[in-house]
């Protein structure tokens, strides 16, 4: 789980430069969420962790924080 979080944090830090992102911080509260970033995030999660994010997983709540993404990855990989 911790290793996954490191990867997620690293990916997100490329989008939120100059911001020390906390694991429970709402990334959607930080700025405008555009469709490009949304797609990149989903593609990253699928590619990096080898999971398929289904329609029902595509909920903001599953992508809102580093913690939430890590939980989703763990659930899907199980």
């Amino acid at each position: 789980m911790e290793a996954n979080k490191v990867k997620i944090r690293e990916f997100l830090s490329r989008h939120f430069k100059n911001h020390d992102l906390k694991d429970d911080e709402d990334i959607f509260a930080l700025g405008f969420v555009n469709s490009l970033f949304a797609m990149q995030l989903v593609m990253f999660v699928e590619g990096e962790f080898g999971i398929r994010v289904e329609n029902e997983d595509l909920d903001l709540a599953n992508f809102r924080t580093v913690d939430a993404i890590a939980t989703l990855v763990e659930k899907k990989a199980a």
């Binding site: 989008h15 797609m39 329609n55």
Partner: protein, 352 residues
């Protein structure tokens, strides 16, 4: 007119979006490797110019030395007509594939012209959807139904130049190190959203027919239907345009909203794939959300999933839309309008 009755009818209107040309004995008489003094075929040049006027893109798949062939094309003054020319020793099937990928359109909208039966068969074998034409028999090529777009709009005439500007942008983007927002800000973009006017309708129809990936339902509407929506009190037909420091992208977005008594419903929302990486789709959605909220209505959206429009599903979900109903393949989303985002800082938004 009842918009909910519309169904997908894309395939019966397929037209060619890109023609890929061979060079030796196709665009010119002779084989460049054997004799430098090849002779440009005047009738082919006429075809190339006419296709360009119609907004059909063109490229090259030729087995030749890249630099020699490009120099020849420049000498003939026709190099600029071709996007991403593939002049190498790869199979022409793979060259066509590469062009489709670089332009970002489906290979099923391609035509391929070559004088060699072997090359045509090799392309046809790997990509049966590609229309293969014999370069020695091009009479009537321009009269083929698939070579005649229903409308030729200002945007289609400028299409090649807009793709050229895209190539320039991509180069700069690849070299840019830093966060996406910063890059987007450096483009100096202006995004416009306006109610569609009569002169926008041809382009609007073209957009409903050409756009597959960034399209929430794939409903196609013809000119007259769109003209009715435009003037109807129960509909909002919005057209969006984008320009940046490299030039204009033209009109690249369309949204049709059914404005009911209590509920507004987005029937169609689409964006040209050329603006995929510009983050403007969310702005168009946000504008509709804000308008619905200001009008005191609920806001729903229809969505028809295809194998190509996942990005729009994600766009809706990440814009806080929730699935509230499903009728077969048709998903009904609703946004409760409690979390509206301001427009991003990297683009200047103008609402007409």
């Amino acid at each position: 007119m009842e918009a909910t009755q519309k169904t997908k009818k894309k395939d019966d209107k397929k037209t060619i979006k890109c023609v890929v040309w061979d060079l030796d004995n196709t665009v010119w008489d002779g084989v460049l490797l054997e004799d430098e003094n090849v002779i440009l075929k005047a009738d082919v040049v006429e075809i190339i110019k006419e296709l360009d006027e119609r907004g059909i893109l063109q490229s090259i798949a030729s087995k030749n030395n890249h630099d020699d062939a490009m120099r020849k094309l420049e000498e003939f003054g026709i190099a600029d007509y071709f996007l991403y020319p593939q002049i190498n020793w790869n199979s022409k099937a793979s060259s066509c594939e590469q062009i489709a990928k670089l332009i970002n359109i489906g290979i099923d909208t391609f035509a391929f012209v070559d004088d060699q039966p072997f090359e045509r068969e090799e392309v046809a074998f790997n990509h049966p959807q590609v229309l293969c034409l014999d370069a020695l028999n091009l009479d009537g090529m321009l009269d083929l139904d698939v070579m005649i777009p229903r409308f030729i709009t200002d945007d289609s005439k400028k299409r090649r130049q807009m793709y050229m500007a895209d190539i320039e942008r991509k180069k700069v983007e690849e070299e840019f190190v830093g966060p996406t927002d910063e890059f987007l800000a450096s483009l100096d973009m202006t995004f416009t959203i306006d109610p569609a006017k009569e002169e926008d309708l041809k382009r609007a129809e073209e957009l409903t027919q050409r756009t597959n990936q960034l399209n929430t339902t794939g409903y196609t509407y013809n000119y007259d239907e769109l003209d009715e929506f435009r003037q109807s009190d129960d509909h909002l037909l919005l057209i969006a345009g984008l320009e940046d420091k490299y030039g204009t992208y033209g009109k690249i977005g369309l949204a049709l909203v059914e404005t009911g008594e209590e509920v507004w419903k987005i029937k169609l929302l689409l964006l040209s794939c050329r603006v995929m990486s510009r983050g403007v789709g969310s702005i168009l959605i946000n504008h509709i959300l804000q308008s619905a909220k200001a009008a005191g209505k609920r806001l729903q959206a229809e969505f028809l999933q295809t194998d190509r429009n996942r990005m729009m599903y994600i766009t809706y979900k990440f814009a806080d839309f929730k699935e509230v109903d499903k009728q077969g393949d048709l998903i009904i989303f609703e946004n409760d309008l409690t979390r509206l985002q301001p427009f991003p800082e990297y683009v200047n938004v103008q609402i007409g």
